[in-house]
Amino acid sequence: MKFSVIVDALPHLLGAAVTTIWISLLGVMLGQVIGVLVCVARQSGRRSLDVAGGVYVSFFRGVPLLIQLLLIYYMLPLIGIDVPPLVAAIGALSLASGAYVSEIYRGSLNAVPHGQSEAALALGFSAPTIWKRILLPQAFRISVPALVNELILLLKASSLISVVGVAELTRTSQTISASNFRPLEIYLAAGVIYLAINSALALFGALVERRLAQG
């Protein structure tokens, strides 16, 4: 063990960690949008939408992320869209997290008392307004712990996008350890950085949760 190796590599690793963080955040935010849309579509009462949403959720939760990533990476050029690896990676992460997020929202929606939407309906609220003003805000509050958990999971999963050559934390660790032959130190450092980010996220999640509980 030589700690000087870690000190030398630290600026690069931290820079790469920033890439990891923003890719994960972007993935979770797009996933959030997809998840809400899929969830609303599945609850809309149209059978075709429900089935399509169900297949989407089942596929992206059932197929390993690495395969989804390669699938998107190789599929887009095939239909004429030549994308840089970064876009394919963010796309894969968003689609995967969208599937999980839609399930999280589905669970939270069930926790919103049914009487509320009935009451809103009786008061003459339109369906979009009921979603926007009554169901989604409450579902969001209920699902905050699960969403933070999802962000942590996605941050860990983002290590897989190193495979398509995106220079995030894992990929950068690989590159550095391949050039200085010190994989033990470098991967330890990378692990500690991941752990630190995730602990910070968990702490932040607990804070937000407490804030929302106060109303």
């Binding site: 063990m1 089942s58 596929f59 059932g62 197929v63 390993p64 992320l65 690495l66 395969i67 989804q68 390669l70 699938l71 190789y74 599929m75 095939l78 942590i152 860990k156 999963a157 983002s158 290590s159 897989l160 190193s162 495979v163 894992t170 660790s173 690989q174 350890s177 010190r182 994989p183 033990l184 130190e185 991967y187 330890l188 990378a190 692990g191 991941y194 752990l195 995730n198 602990s199």
Partner: protein
């Protein structure tokens, strides 16, 4: 996909599937055994030991599986731990799973009604007997859904082993894709295959769950 390709690469893919199943089964077994031991050790009221186990679980759950694999496989030789890719893969899967299994077992352990343990104690049962005859059966029933879920997750994690060159299905598939340039078809086929595999593991698990918990729905056991 060209059917000739399947004839040519079929044996390799089958062999890869065998390695996938081997890694999965061995990884699950190691993970559960280790997780169970960790859960038992966590019951001991020694502060440093508790901190250590808590840290172990937090570290494993807070870092990506891929980084753990790299540490074990590429970082291992620096401290004299020279492992073959498959061994490292199985061990890595086991260690990764152990932290999650330990938490599942802990939840199951806490869910056993205290009164049952006290009752067994007052009847003069030794602790080993209480563990085997009272705690374990109750734990098994309450933890099965979570265990099955974790096993399905580990099925998906086996593909990550391809990155450290474990010759499992994903690795063989990528070799085939690289040699034949039929990347997209191969990966699509593989996606569908894993979809079915994970679905099968979950289905099988649900069946096991129904079997283990069948007496719970028996009218004479129904709770008011």
């Amino acid at each position: 996909m060209d059917s000739n390709l399947l004839v040519q690469y079929g044996p390799a893919l089958l062999r890869g599937f065998g390695v996938t199943i081997l890694c999965w089964a061995a990884g699950c077994a190691i993970g559960m055994a280790l997780g169970f031991v960790i859960m038992l050790l966590r019951q001991i009221e020694v502060k440093p030991l508790r901190w250590l186990l808590r840290a172990y679980i937090e570290v494993i759950r807070g870092t990506p599986f891929l980084i753990q694999l790299f540490l074990l496989y590429s970082g291992g030789p620096a401290i004299g731990l020279r492992l073959e890719a498959t061994t490292a893969g199985i061990l890595g899967l086991g260690i990764y799973g152990s932290a999650y299994f330990a938490e599942i077992f802990r939840a199951g352990f806490q869910a056993v009604p205290k009164g049952q343990v006290e009752a067994a104690h007052s009847l003069g049962m030794p602790y080993g007997g209480i563990l085997r005859r009272v705690i374990l059966p109750a734990m098994l029933v309450s933890t099965v859904p979570a265990l099955v879920n974790m096993m399905a997750i580990l099925t998906k994690e086996t593909v990550v082993l391809s990155i450290i060159t474990v010759p499992e299905l994903m690795y063989e598939m990528q070799t085939m894709a690289a040699e034949t340039f039929a990347s997209f078809e191969t990966i699509l086929g593989m996606a569908l295959f894993y979809w079915l595999l994970v679905e099968a593991v979950s289905r099988l698990g649900r069946r096991m769950e129904a079997r283990v918990t069948r007496f719970l729905s028996h009218p004479s056991n129904a709770r008011a």
